[in-house]
């Protein structure tokens, strides 16, 4: 009887077992961890805007408080994107003819809002509330990073569920005094740098104290965020 397969078939069939296992393993790994890759979750990718607003210039350069623009952050779920009249409060006087700011002036004239591109966009099945996080002593910086060093805004954290849970499971590692929530570069070991009169402490010391003082619960029920 003639051979129906060439001798190389032996090697090929053995190799296909290894290749199949590798392919399945890599596939499963890729499928389940793709959300960790920056080119999927856009971490550290600066977002283009119609008007290239610089947080670095306004926060670090001019010392504007976060709440000057994001006015609703302490009372509502959304921090709030400022209307152009907030911009015009200053820019009707300074840089009032700058060509870069023309879209702002046009929006102000025509009452058509600027379409900002959203940087931090949670899925619709996640109910995040800014006000409670601020009330419990979680700083802007803990999630948004050093906004005072960003010419254009980008994400510092993936906003993956594992990232949310890292803090919800161990809030003492991230909590800070309530009066320092908007501080950029808060360091509990050098509180005087941020104008606080607390004694220098490590996060391991101050964290559990604040958790107790602010009555922070480690909320990890599904319905805490998914309602």
């Amino acid at each position: 009887m003639a051979q129906i397969f060439s001798p190389s078939t032996n090697t090929l069939s053995k190799a296909s077992i290894v290749a199949g296992a590798l392919l399945a393993g890599t596939g499963a790994f890729a499928l389940t961890t793709a959300n960790r890759w920056p080119w999927i979750n856009n971490v550290a990718v600066a977002m283009e805007q119609e008007v290239p607003f610089s947080h670095k210039h306004h926060v670090a350069g001019l010392g504007v408080d976060c709440r000057f623009c994001h006015t609703a952050v302490e009372e509502s779920a959304n921090a709030g994107i400022p209307p152009v009249k907030t911009c015009m409060g200053c820019h009707s006087i300074v840089w009032k003819d700058a060509p870069l700011l023309e879209p702002i002036r046009e929006s102000y004239r025509t009452d058509v809002p600027i379409q900002w591109n959203r940087v931090h966009d949670l899925p619709d099945f996640v109910f995040f509330n800014h006000s409670i996080h601020l009330k419990k002593g979680i700083g802007c910086e803990s999630c948004h990073g050093r906004v005072d060093e960003m010419p254009l805004m980008w994400k510092v954290n993936s906003l993956n569920m594992e990232w949310c849970l890292a803090c919800h499971r161990n809030p003492q590692d991230f909590v800070r005094p309530r009066d320092q929530v908007t501080t950029m570069g808060w360091d509990p070991e050098r509180p005087e740098k941020s104008g606080s009169n607390l004694p220098p402490m490590s996060q391991a010391e101050i964290g559990p104290k604040l958790v107790q003082e602010y009555q922070i619960q480690s909320l990890t029920n599904c319905s805490t965020c998914h309602r």
Partner: protein
């Protein structure tokens, strides 16, 4: 081999006048023939239509969601779980026949094990579709597996539902491997007998280079025994875990310790009924009376009778415990079964599962193909009704009368159910046409004055 204590010789397991060559010719020609029987085309056409209906139903569920089904509060499980348990149960006979009867050296398993194992695999495939669609977002089904993920979450290992995932996926894997390994020597026979080079290559690739060398047979025997050892506990464990889905809940009628043994017996009961349902027509159409003899049918009838009695005992204990518990809710569950809005389902269940199978006490009935077919269909229906009774009656009226409701299956419930039956028959028909439906080398071992050990022949 014999389980009789009398000195009467049991009827042979193979018809008279067969030689090694005639066995091989008969079974291999079912596959390698150029003339496909008309009945086969008919089966493919009818079941193929239902596969199409299944495809449409599944796509609709993908795009529009499980609201198409009749499930709602308080009955959130409905047809999806009824059918899941029904199909999984059916598969158990295949594993019992192939693993436990192999370990017990029961000669009568040889001619039915291949088809019964195929039935197991197709039944598990049908079963698997239901929880998958019932999740509502089947494309996220991989969340059920403990894979590394970006959610910082693991499955709830204290839930019987995740045990179910492991039980059923293990069951599917082991059954598939066992079935395939058992088929390798026969695939080699088909490779050697095929004329067309591409058919030769196809079977050649599938038979993994089998040459029938002594070392091959040696490894084959070891592998079969190991796989039988792995499968044997699965006969008991899989449906035990399925029963935990209910028993771990606190719903009256579910929260009972009898559930695991009662489910396992019910599974084998249902499985043997389905084996008969498939084998009787197959035997008639392909004229396989020499291989699937009256003794095989007798034995399957006896297994149905025995497991049916265990199931009947389960029903009796459920009733007794409901009374003996003194729990108002358990007692209500029983009266609600007997006299509630689903009383016809419950009484039909008792009729189909307890009363009708008693016919199997009669040897004459066990010898009658039509009687066996009638009883097996009755058990198929009865075991489906049993799952309906467990799922729906317990859920529709539980502790809180204000939340009572009724469950009405919709067109999509029925189309998915009929669709999976179609898929099952479709897959089984393909199996009969393209793979050796009876283990050639094992049946050759039954030929009188054959080789000393089953299948060790080098004849071709």
């Amino acid at each position: 081999m014999s389980n009789k204590t009398t000195d009467v010789e049991p009827p042979a397991l193979i018809g008279p006048g067969h030689s090694l060559a005639s066995v091989t010719d008969k079974i291999a020609d079912m596959v390698l023939t150029k003339r496909t029987p008309l009945g086969w085309w008919l089966a493919i056409a009818v079941s193929g239509t239902f596969v199409g209906i299944l495809g449409f139903t599944v796509l609709s569920l993908f795009f529009r969601g499980v609201g198409l089904w009749g499930i709602n509060n308080p009955v959130g499980w409905g047809f999806a779980i009824i059918n899941f348990v029904w199909w999984i149960g059916i598969g158990h006979a295949g594993t019992l026949i192939s693993a436990i009867l192999l370990l017990l050296r029961q000669g009568w398993r040889t001619s039915i094990n291949r088809a019964a194992e195929a039935m197991t695999i197709f039944a598990v495939m049908c079963a698997g579709m239901y929880p998958l669609m019932h999740t509502g977002r089947p494309w996220l089904a991989f969340w059920m597996l403990p894979l590394p993920n970006s959610m910082g979450m693991w499955q709830n290992f204290r839930s019987p539902l995740i045990w179910d995932v492991f039980a059923v996926s293990t069951y599917a894997t082991v059954s598939l491997v066992f079935w395939y390994v058992g088929m390798v020597p026969d695939l080699a026979t088909l490779r050697d007998r095929a004329r067309n080079i591409w058919v030769k290559r196809a079977y050649g690739a599938l038979c993994l280079g089998w040459r029938g060398a002594a070392s091959h047979w040696d490894r084959y025997e070891i592998a079969s025994l190991l796989l039988a050892g792995l499968s044997a506990p699965l006969v008991v464990s899989v449906h035990t875990v399925v029963s935990f889905d209910f028993a771990a809940g606190i719903i009256p009628g579910w929260h009972t310790t009898i559930f695991p043994p009662y489910f396992v017996a019910g599974a084998i009961f249902a499985g043997f009924a389905m084996v008969l349902t498939l084998m009787l027509p197959l035997r008639a159409w392909y004229r396989l009376e020499d291989f699937i003899t009256e003794r095989h049918l007798q034995n399957m009838g006896k297994v149905m009778l025995a497991t049916g009695l265990i199931v009947a005992y389960g029903y009796a204990i459920e009733g007794f415990m409901a009374w003996y518990s003194g729990s108002a809710y358990e007692q209500f569950m029983l009266t609600n079964r007997l006299t509630g809005p689903y009383k016809y389902e419950y009484w039909s269940l008792l009729l189909c599962n307890i009363l009708i199978p008693q016919i199997m006490w009669s040897k004459k009935a066990r010898s009658s193909v039509w009687m066996l077919f009638f009883v097996s269909m009755s058990v198929n229906i009865g075991m489906w009704l049993e799952r309906f009774v467990i799922v729906v009656i317990s859920l529709h009226r539980d502790f809180l009368p204000s939340s009572w409701g009724m469950y009405h299956p919709t067109l999509y419930d029925w189309s998915m159910f009929l669709g999976t039956i179609g898929f099952f028959i479709f897959a089984f028909s393909l199996f009969i046409r393209f793979l050796p439906a009876i283990a050639i080398f094992e049946v050759r071992g039954l030929v009188p004055r054959g080789p000393a050990r089953p299948g060790k022949s080098t004849h071709h």
